[in-house]
Symmetry: C2
Subunit: 289 residues, 2 copies
């Protein structure tokens, strides 16, 4: 596994891989890697011959400077996990490599006023801008993102389509702990009690899947039931329980293929998100979560 | 010369040119070509082996729908001029090819409140977005823009640096009619009287160059003198006469290397722009206009 710290190094290593005829797969991360991240590399390897990962805690997407400085970092451990996962090139830029008097931003209109957009102002602009930069640096054939951050994934699909980036976004299934909690770097901030209570999120998704399997199609009925199951875990705050359309993330009244049920809730001071995508398969609804 | 109407065609033709080891030069235009445009192709050919031109009147950068519909178009003539100029591939997309529910935009912060930004709201966002799209479609090694649209050129240089587009922006000198009027598609809207009066712009740049050659370094003295020469042509309105720093287009008090003197004025209902870049060469000031 190679490690690059500058844009020039990345470009020259990837140029060499391309010259060998290898397709480029890309997994952008903020580090503190877990099985969720390594599953993205596995997904990428199914489709491409050279795996690039970036590790960069992107200041521009934090609206709270304290959240930025508290974000967990452990580069030694990350590099060993990445090597284990079969990554070919890790890009670890500094702030100075990525941002020098940055005055350009990329924005996708559909995300500013819903779900996490409403609760984390400026967050998605920071994500789109840094990912656009990384796409231009790495020039991958595919880039893999996790379903857990569904709003980010859908927004990036829209960005790629709208700005004609020559690559395909792949959305890989959420990876969960054995008890159902979605993997996240933030989980480490949960104490034992919060960790236990947070399982209500997964239970609420299961409940919604059962209702949909029984023919329920009302978004408000499903949201209410989800809210009741969440309440059993006494979350410290529920940011949202929302059923939206996949393509533009606008709220919908009725469940249909490519609806998304999205949840954000606090346990202690830790904000957790999770979601379920509904797809029609063989004239039945599949609930992917 | 090949003509492509879809993104897929463009990509496949350019892929083939790259496979032959040819560098890709790119000149984005809105058509109605004149010697200004063909000079950009000549500049591009000095550095690359395959010349791509796009012809697309970009709705997104017009703040006035009437200005958009009145923009001159003559594709037959354009194609023949492009062929003559040695263009290898012309990309002529429709609105539908370029924009399908576009929700993503690219913005560069330095241009919104100065010069043309103040007078044409939303204009530059439209330029940055469409050029970002075209860069991702064509993936050129260099893209050539004219000095006449200096604010656009500087903004695009900043966009390329900030978003790490893997290409170089080349700024080619303004091409002028024999009497000094900067070439522009808009010149055709001038009647004989307006056309004659508009020569004061070039005369005012000459005056500024003379003052600088004699040692004048005060931006306000130069602007005042420029204003007096402009007044001799009785412009119907002066949008601005401004001395700014090249890199961020902020107004400056004193002339220094890489200052820009920028002018925008109306003759009749036609808005003309022109400018001069100051550079230090062999410890002297060169005025490029």
């Amino acid at each position: 596994m190679k490690t690059a710290h500058t844009i020039e190094e990345v470009r020259s290593i990837i140029r060499a891989a391309r010259a060998e005829g290898r397709g480029i797969g890309f997994v952008p991360t903020m580090g503190y890697l877990h099985r969720g991240h390594t599953s993205l590399v596995e997904e990428s390897r199914k489709k491409t011959g050279f795996q690039v990962m970036s590790i960069f805690v992107n200041k521009m997407q934090f609206n709270d400077p304290k959240d930025f400085s508290n974000y967990p970092r452990d580069l030694e451990r990350d590099l060993s996990i990445a090597r284990e996962a079969g990554v070919d090139l890790v890009f670890v830029p500094t702030d100075e490599v990525m941002y020098r008097d940055q005055r350009t931003c990329v924005d996708v209109d559909l995300l500013t006023d819903h779900l996490c957009g409403a609760h984390r102002p400026g967050h998605f602009r920071g994500v789109f801008t840094v990912v656009g930069k990384l796409f231009n640096i790495v020039l991958p054939d595919i880039a893999v993102f996790g379903q857990k951050d569904i709003q980010q994934a859908v927004g990036l699909e829209k960005m790629v389509a709208d700005l004609n980036f020559p690559l395909k976004i792949v959305i890989a299934p959420t990876v969960r702990e054995d008890d159902g909690l979605a993997m996240s770097s933030r989980n480490r901030h949960l104490n034992a009690d919060e960790r236990h209570r947070a399982l209500c999120i997964h239970r609420s998704l299961k409940k919604a899947a059962e209702m949909i399997a029984s023919g329920e199609r009302s978004a408000s009925n499903i949201s209410e039931a989800v809210g009741r199951v969440l309440a059993e875990g006494s979350p410290d705050k529920i940011d949202y329980v929302s059923v939206v359309r996949y393509g533009d993330l606008q709220p919908v009244d009725g469940i249909s293929p490519k609806s998304v049920l999205a949840i954000a809730a606090f346990f202690g001071s830790t904000r957790l998100i999770d979601n379920m995508i509904m797809e029609e398969r063989d004239e039945k609804f599949a609930c992917i979560y």
